[in-house]
């Protein structure tokens, strides 16, 4: 067999196994909206861990981390910082969100805003913005998948057919199995991906340089200044690092992350999960090693995202490339599935129902969500095939944009005074300012992440409107202080 066929067969076998698991995961379960969207709030620590790890460790982050260390250098460290700090925040904010969600039967980020602030309008705005950000993120997973399959098959499979086939499969198991299917595919993918990280992170430096220390010494010698900040970028220095970590560590504001909180059995599950999660981030450091080795092993690539796979292709026999390609494809498919599922639920529950069918039952909303799955998948596929440079701007906006949901979530949980008018005006101002800065290429603003600038304006406006126009709350407040001895 020629190398392309070998790699492709191995890759196909892994993807087929993963998809099979996805389709069978929800067998014998009654798939109502609650089961489909939040797994009936029944997942234990291990499964929630696998789900959240699946959301965090995406194909875009794997290609992105190795691509960034290859082309930008030192600033890449922010990724290893914000993921863990995000867990520290989730440790505190997760359990009260879970508790509020159980009390009010909440399944989505839009539900939370609608219930807490007593306004379908806020819910719909949050849902719509969330869906836009999710589709951008989804499009990047699909594009990453196209790159992975293309390189791993020695260009035997074109990017467009690869993206098309994989995305149809993803939409299929989302429709059949819901979030539970995603969890089980993620279990296989996590196992493979950690194995891949260990192999590429240790083996590539050993084969080409004789060791990890020798590899770093060689890179530091060849590219002085590359591995500290700002590395090979003009303006990603220390203030950018600090401000970006602060914004990105608000990752509980991502609609899919927020939704995953409700799959847990208890608030306790969320806490335990946050304690364990940083260990899963350690394999990402190995991906940094591999991306760093690629600087000298596969020099001169125009697109840094190809760095890891090119280094792998220079180093390993085709079947290993097939395993890595298969693991990589699943790594794109798992988050893609979660993004599709979350966006579809948001559209059906928080946009379609209040606008067109206020009296519709949850079962029927579940059917609308299935239709939304097909539409959202089609839109993301279209964007992936016709991707343009504005989408990179959209991604930066997506990361900075979801952070603007933070005041509504955090104050919604911890403050009784905050008003819906305050939250809505702050949110709109934050989104508008961040969007303006990103699309007029002013990000980072004087070295500060545009999302943090938007968030500061957001918080100031929330506080000002709340104090100037105090109003009794029209939504459902979280339950305050349990009576003494209740715990």
């Amino acid at each position: 067999m020629n190398p392309g066929t070998t790699a492709l067969s191995v890759m196909f076998a892994i993807v087929a196994l993963g998809s099979g698991i996805g389709f069978l995961a929800a067998k014998r379960r009654q798939l109502n909206l609650e089961e489909w969207a939040v797994a009936g709030r029944g997942l234990g620590v291990v499964l929630v861990w696998i789900l959240l790890a699946g959301e965090t460790f995406t194909a875009f982050s794997v290609l992105g981390i190795s691509g960034w260390i290859y082309s930008k250098g030192g600033p890449t460290l922010y990724i290893l910082g914000y993921l863990t700090l995000g867990q520290v925040l989730c440790f505190f904010i997760g359990p009260p969100i879970w508790e509020y969600g159980r009390r009010h039967g909440i399944q989505t980020l839009g539900d939370f805003f609608g219930k807490r602030y007593g306004s379908d309008l806020i819910a719909a705005i949050v849902a719509l913005a969330g869906v836009v950000f999710l589709i951008v993120y989804l499009q990047l997973q699909i594009t990453s998948l196209g790159i992975i399959v293309g390189v791993a098959s020695f260009e035997a499979v074109g990017r467009t057919p690869a993206m098309l086939a994989a995305t149809v499969v993803v939409a299929g198991f989302v429709l059949v199995s819901g979030v539970r299917g995603v969890v089980w595919v993620s279990a296989l993918k996590d196992f493979l991906l950690v194995a891949v990280a260990v192999v590429v992170g240790i083996w590539i430096p050993y084969i080409h340089f004789g060791g990890i220390g020798a590899m770093f010494a060689a890179v530091e010698h060849a590219r002085p200044g590359h591995l500290t900040m700002p590395g090979s970028t003009p303006n990603y220095g220390h203030s950018w690092y600090v401000s970006t970590i602060l914004v990105n560590s608000l990752m509980f504001t991502w609609p899919h992350f927020f939704g995953a909180i409700f799959t847990a059995k208890s608030g306790e599950t969320i806490r335990k999960n946050a304690i364990m999660m940083p260990f899963y981030i350690l394999p990402l450091a190995l991906i940094v090693f591999a991306g760093c080795a690629a600087i000298l092993v596969a020099p001169g690539l125009k697109n840094g995202d190809l760095a890891l796979l090119s280094a792998v292709r220079e180093t390993f026999p085709p079947w290993v490339l097939g395993v890595i390609g298969g693991a990589g494809a699943l790594t794109a498919m798992v988050p893609a599935a979660i993004h599709i599922l979350t966006a579809a639920t948001l559209v059906a529950k928080n946009v379609y129902r209040p606008l067109f069918a206020p009296a519709m039952s949850d079962d029927n909303i579940g059917r609308v969500a299935r239709v939304a799955v097909v539409v959202i998948t089609a839109v993301a596929l279209y964007l992936s095939v016709h991707s343009s440079t504005t989408l990179v701007g959209l991604l930066i906006l997506a990361y900075s944009g979801v952070g603007q949901f933070a005041p509504g979530i955090v104050l919604g949980i911890y403050s009784r005074r905050v008003t819906s008018a305050g939250i809505l005006s702050g949110l709109l101002a934050g989104l508008a300012l961040t969007g303006y800065l990103v699309f007029t290429h002013r990000d980072p603003v004087g070295g500060i992440n545009a999302g943090l600038v938007g968030l500061s304006a957001n918080v100031v406006i929330v506080a000002a409107v709340t104090y100037l126009f105090p109003r009794p709350c029209t939504g459902s407040l979280p339950v305050q202080e349990e009576p003494q001895g209740a715990l």
Binding site: V88, P96, F216, L227, T228, P278, L282, A285, I413
Partner: protein
Amino acid sequence: MRKPSIWSILLASVPFFGMCFSVALWDRLEPHVLGLPFNLFWIVAWNAFTPAVLLVIYRIERHR
């Protein structure tokens, strides 16, 4: 919802100082540790250490 204790919040800010605000102090190549540039080693070490911090907070919050 019951707010976390002041000790828990102080402890939780420790990893933020270690990994985020203090970046200017440790963003350099020397001394290399286990062959890694110092900044990479530092951030990996904090990733490994943060679960211990969270475990202590977990104990504090459970006893309240």
